[in-house]
Amino acid sequence: MGGPTLAELILSRVSGRDVRAGELVIAPVSRVMVHDSVIDAVMSGLRALGREKVWDTSRVCVFVDHAAPAPTPVVADSHRVLRGWVRDQGIATFYDAGEGVCHQIMVEEGYCEPGTVIVGSDSHSNSYGAVGTFGAGMGATDIAVALALGRTWLRVPASIKVTFTGRPRRGVTIKDAIMRVVREIGTDGARYACVEFHGAGELPQGDRITLAGMTTEMGAKAGIVVGTPEAPEWLRPSADAAYVREVTVDLSTLEPQIAIPPRVDQVSDVSEARGIPVDVVFLGSCTNGRVVDMRQAAEVLRGRRIHPRVRLEVVPSSRRQFEDAMADGTLGVLSAAGAVIGTSGCGPCLGRTGGVLAGEEVCFSTANRNYRGRMGSPDASIYLGSPYVAAVAALTGVIDDPRPYLDASDAALDALVARRREERGDRGAASARSGDRARELVAAMPLRSEPWVVGMEVED
């Protein structure tokens, strides 16, 4: 038997015995993350367990981010109850509406201790792997149990090794890299598994959040980046660790990627989807709502106005990201281009606040999910991709390869934008044509012959 993977290392350490993939552990958690969407169920879970208090008030982080500020009286009531609960419990770590997306704050404010287990009430709690934490999303009852006991049960996941080599070319981002991985692995290919990222430890922390968080879109239990600056020395997978699958992506040849609705793993090179018209562009979410992402969009949009038929909504992922983007003028550039700047938080990512989509509308989003109905009407469609592609879509009204737009002279850029706008035409809702294109693209995609089945059982 080889040495341990990162998941095996962490779960062995916290459970106090040497465990390998497939074994069950009862794991102490270093923190529990709870957000507004599920607080009612979490509180009633605690009550049902007969527990008055959480096990440790200093280790619980609570966020109002998923529908914030409250869009309806029912939500407002739920938030009011949540605030009362936080006060009664004496939980100090509380971020109210406008502070940002839970995962962004958990990582950037240092709540994620590398080498420990954190469970969160949100499926993108995998994001904590950005700093070497085993983060796993769980349902409300699991969270209530973790709040009551300070422990959770886990089956030690098998691991998939993803290795990045080379550096991406200009205009290609880590979002493209992770979408390339999703393209390879599929929405269920990492089910029950931990995705271990090699060759990404040196990336900026925000890029590592993009990677770790999007392992959720492959069904993973956790996604952890190897060799981050935050991680302690012991947190290194063994050179002979056993992986169920290995994927290598050469970043130096990577093209910008987009996901075709309604699946995250229907991914193609952006060049194949060139010309698909969009009505709405959303730049934000825990995947791509940081200042770096807003700066990338601003590179494209500086000194220009977005297409008159397109709405651009920009939602910083946290107050810190918002303030940084304000301080360096990025938000000013985006606003001048015609963007609506939304409250830091989840915003339109899940169709609860901000600009929800009408039927037939086509959205280009930098978030992580494009399921039917995710951002509003079930008849809307959502393409996913990088902030560069998002900015180009806002500017031209169509999906296009962003690279010719970067570093182009003013005259060349004007000509390119004019050509794309001309091609797009000026019709109303864009989805009829884009729906046809989407179907063509998906039909041309190679079928994955066998779904990759990872892990032995479905217990967790």
Binding site: E23, L24, V25, I26, D36, S37, V38, I39, D40, A41, G45, A48, L49, G50, A67, T72, V74, V75, S78, S121, D122, S123, G137, M138, G139, A140, T141, D142, A144, V145, A148, L149, R151, W153, T187, D188, R191, Y192, G219, K221, R263, L350, G351, R352, V356, R369, Y371, R372, G373, R374, G376, P378, P451, V453, E457, V458, E459, D460
Partner: protein, 164 residues
């Protein structure tokens, strides 16, 4: 006798209850009435206690929303048989006491609206075109399901079932 509701692969929790109908958007007493409202508009109206959901690969993928499972619980779903389950969904079902059982290829045997019987003791889903052999439920999950969910288990035993 129960009815089978058949779904395909990769049924995501947004299909079960769309996020815009979360309990805290529409109220604790109403969210389950939106179960499958986009994917199967007849479901909430026609589903009967004890009915069985049958699916393919990766049943319940996507968001971790437990209320998707709570909605099924409120409708009295007797169990879910699928080729495989997404892990959070699987956990949520175990925690709330809905039997989730894997079977090699249930879609090959069961058609939508079939009259079926979920016989967990015998490890079978009995259907008009034949019986579907169910995979055994792992011991740890079985103990929690037998208690009626993790809350009942913990109330009774004070701690998780033993892992070794």
């Amino acid at each position: 006798m129960a009815r089978a509701w058949v779904f395909g692969d990769d049924l995501d929790t947004d299909q079960i209850v769309p996020g815009r109908y979360a309990p805290f958007m529409v109220g604790q007493d109403r969210f389950h009435t939106y179960a499958f409202c986009d994917a199967r508009p007849d479901f909430a109206k026609d589903v009967r206690e004890g009915d069985v959901l049958v699916g393919g690969e990766n049943f319940g993928c996507g968001s971790s929303r437990e209320y998707a499972v709570a909605a099924l619980k409120k409708h009295g779903i007797g169990g879910i048989v699928a080729k495989s389950f997404a892990r959070i969904f699987f956990r949520n079902c175990v925690n709330l006491g809905i039997p989730v059982v894997e079977a090699p290829d249930p879609l090959a045997v069961v058609r939508d609206a079939d009259e079926v019987t979920l016989d967990l003791a015998a490890g079978l889903l009995r259907a008009p075109r034949g019986d579907v052999q169910l995979r055994p439920v792992p011991a740890f999950a079985r103990q929690i399901l037998t208690a009626g969910g993790v809350v009942a288990y913990l109330r009774e035993h004070g701690d998780f079932p033993s892992v070794s």
